[in-house]
Assembly symmetry: D4
Homo-oligomer: 196 residues x 8
């Protein structure tokens, strides 16, 4: 059924269709039906199209949007956001593993961060990175708590609460592991800029 | 001390200074020190300036941004968002009491809503309005849960959770009763548009 | 043992027996013992009888009762409610996937909804549909939260809380995933009407 | 403003208007404006009308509906439900302090309970009464948890959870202390009967 | 290692040794080492001894103690309590499935209950049975919440809270699924009686 | 009304009546009506009788029962338990402020503790005392969590959970601040002993 | 009684006595009894002695220990820690309002922080400062969550959880608002150093 | 990749590298690459080095630090702490199964405990041991809650809360099951002592 919906959408003029939360096995058989396809195994996103598909870092007429992770276990959620942004035509600047445990890593990326228009930050455990990053940039930061971690991380509830109570005024929050929603909101914001 | 900070900021060129969570009594004595001032008693915001101060609905070179309440008890939080937006130079289109209990009220405002670029929605109790409204508009909706309500509303935690789990992709959430943060984020987004 | 209870009940004059939360395997062997049987694989309900068994949409001397889902993942819970209502002799009008993310879908079913006497609404994630639907109809809405969803949906606790705090006065709530209880309560209410 | 709304409603033909959660002081001054009025001080409900107002036990063309309390501290919530039912034209059969700690009290009222068509049960602390009562009657029981109690009663969350997990199939639940909603739902159900 | 501890204990004069939470497989091999043994598969208790072992209902110089379940899914926890009591030399009067959903079942067992000196009551879901039973007997009731149930039963937290807030003064509570502790406490109390 | 109930009970032969949770002011006027009375200001219990009233430590034909506090802020709850025991004719051995922070204090009271038949232990904050004490005595320990403390004590929920998860098998738990219930259960158990 | 305990302690050779959580009124009358005294009104600590009392920043033979706040509302908790350290003879280096919202403030204090041996960090709302600070220093950081904040800060539970899940390995946590405990632990650690 | 990082670290002069949370299978293949290695199967720690590796009890130029468990199920967490301390060059004094249920076991180890400089205490269920132990020693106790246990232990949240609310002033807490962090903090503290 997903195949048919995707084919119909493309038949009706959609340049590219994004399917989220798709395991590798069905992704394979669906991909076979389309001229162009891109499956991201940890993000579990499939993009299918009748024309070439850009990787997040490659192209995009909007952006750039920073997609940031605190640690390597947050990467699948960030990858879902990045693929969503690429599907929306937004260029992604990815920055990995710059969490607060190693403060130099964030400081060394500030110049890059300041070139962006929005940031999506995926972080688990204490979830402090969106707060800290937001203190350095003047634009909206979309915080995505992740369910990685153990014990008092409460399956992502702790970073969720941390992000909601951020002292920085420019942090908005979405659901735990909601990489798609984080990317989509950042994309909506970024797409306004290019009209300038 | 607030007086001195405000005077210093204006002395250094700030057009207008916003003070939040300020009770009526100190607001009165602070106001006396500035040529122009505007205190909103339920929002508990004070704006002071050396030039005329615009009401949220009046002026603003950016926007408009919709500031929406589900019920009348959500108005103080919405007013804080509206004053914040006005302070940022963003025009506000206010829509009150259009919660889901009376569905015609929302439907009758759809034309107005579609003219806006962002929406800030304050809602307590079940907090369903941001989800419903977001299904009708193509732009980011900043959801602000309010602590009004009783029993299972859990002091605002229930609308907070409702908003975070919204099936609509364009809903981002801030802390309970965080009218300033809701308005500030909406303002950051809206100020990009006018540059077009 | 279930077989014997069912046989005894039918032997004592029960027209039809309903068994809930029954996996497919035992359902098969139990079915073989009865002249008429109807197993619903996702609802995991088995109805056995010594006379023909009506599908929810087909017959029933009472009703109709609306059985509504917000999204496709809520369908198994709704199906349990629908089979329960059919077993009680109540006609079911099923409406699927009319959640708040696509507001037109609910609006297009309002005429059908207004013909019903009660509604059972199964919804997960933010669980806003019962509130919204209840604003359009003058009769009791039995809200059934479902455990689908992730993160802040808290295994169904979030839609449960949303439904309990509904601003609409005509919403009552049952336990998470309690399709049988939702259907049974709606059936009790609907069976009073036919006496008119 | 409440006065004007009430006057307008009655001017447009409403037989009687119900105002809930109203303190004694404003109730007094509002009452003075209407020919007939009835204020219940613990329920904090005011009913105003241009014709005589019936007490819950007195009249009503529908019902009877049982309004039951587990203990004396639950009475204000039950009274709100009873006044709501009376306002809807439903006769109320009130039964107080028949909670599970004294099992004979419930058993002695079973004959009365069996004459009713619906029951509204207000209970705090362990909130077991709706479950127990529902085992004795064949009709819907609307359970209203109350916030009385201390410690592990968690401000009403414990009876709320108890009622939601009731093993009886005929129990539906509303918000903590939601006497109006409990009464209103019971009234909606009861008003169908009289049409027979 | 368990084998050695048990052998040592019996070698040092223990009449009988109780091992709890033991799966069937190791129970088999341990049993082979002792002249007398009794394994209860759902309670997962093993009793080993150098003399004959009494079933809970059979013997015991103390008691009787009532061991009661609300529903059939609570039986494993009750069985653990019963085996513990038998191991302590206390006679058990077992009463199954007398939960509040079918009130006649409890009422029909009151005469038996009144012959006991203590009761252990295992109940899940709403956990109302200990409260109701305690209203009928003058002795301590040890309430054991069980983790059976779904949704708002919260893995046993809901019956735990219900039991703690019981309006009956003679109800004490132990941990979720703590059949051993429930039985042990009841046994300690019952063993005082026989000295009379 | 309390006066009348108490007078009626004593008129019908009750030796002594216990009233709990009674503020000082009404206690004064009620006391005036009885020949003998004893009000405990921090326990807020009033005992009235037509004959002399024993203090907890003084008399009692049953017991002794240990009534123990971890810290001085737990004393009001313990006093309620002690007065309840005295009213039941049980002698009380009170031991104050022997919490785990000063381990010598508990060790110095072990001889006294071993003379008792049951213990009621009131403790707030981490609530560890019942567990520790129960390791030293062979009889039932009734643990009463108190709501004293701050922060992570969660109004008594933390000691409640600590006590429920005690590794000692002889600990049963009652509601937060439930001094009466703790004393009553201990009294029920102690009154069996004297029959020996 | 506090006066007598303090006098006894000093009579027995204590150089200085620390009393915590003491309101201003009793502090005044107690102070009058001692040759030297120091009351901190927001920390609500009183130190009394028979010799001169050092302010936290002044003296101390151990340390220095950093006492840090994220925002100005965290100062009373930090002051309680600082007074405790001074009472233990540890020098305090106080750094206020260097929370993550203004990242330059922390960076500008790194040289001072690196001279310390331990840090006590008081932070409310998202509580991210201990994590961030701990990434810059090689010594133990004692994190004290504060109950300031609103909404999702949950009275201090959110910073508590944030601090517990810190990705930095050198962060240990104490109870909400536990300034004394934070200072005391830091003092215990610091007093080992001076022996070098 | 872990192999390469470890080889690089050792190549750059690290005496020994610690890898945590490593399953047995990869540990085997990584070990093969190093001259010296030590894998602890229940702690799931691997230490690799180019020189001999000391067991926790064996060597270390700092310490000793006590590593204590309440029960045998807490041992894997304690082992992670012990291996961490050994890796830091700190000698470990391990004491197992001295929880509060058997108070003599702790008392018999007090002499050993008093020789240590810090203690790491791993405990699940009610988590009372750190409080009790801290009352006997004058140094910092690092409490590590474990997720062993069932029911009201809430996956480790209950011992976490118990430890945070400890009445002893010398208890600091880390995350559930955080053996590494507990050991690391204790090591940081112990390493200061040797400089004396």
């Amino acid at each position: 059924m997903i195949v048919e919906i995707a084919e119909t959408l493309i038949g009706h003029g959609a340049a590219e269709v994004l399917i989220t939360r798709l395991p590798a096995e069905p992704a394979k058989s669906i991909s076979a039906r389309f001229a162009f396809h891109r499956y991201h195994p940890s993000a579990r996103t499939l993009r299918v199209a009748s024309r070439a598909i850009a990787a997040p870092a490659e192209g995009g007429v909007y952006g750039p949007v920073a997609v940031v992770t605190a640690g390597s276990t947050d990467r699948p959620v960030a990858a879902e956001a990045a693929e969503t942004l690429a599907w929306m035509g937004v260029q992604v600047m990815q920055m990995d593993d710059i969490g607060v445990a190693g403060p130099q890593r964030l400081l060394s990326r500030l110049d890059d961060l300041r070139q962006c228009q929005v940031a999506v930050v995926a972080a688990g455990m204490e979830g402090a990175l969106p707060s800290v990053l937001a203190g350095h940039v003047p634009y909206p930061v979309i915080a995505v708590p992740t369910s990685v971690g153990y014990g008092a991380a409460l399956g992502g509830l702790t970073p969720l609460l941390t992000m909601l109570t951020s002292c920085a005024s420019n942090v908005a929050v979405v659901n735990i592991d909601a990489g798609f929603k984080g990317g989509y909101l950042a994309g909506l914001i970024a797409r306004k800029h290019v009209q300038s």
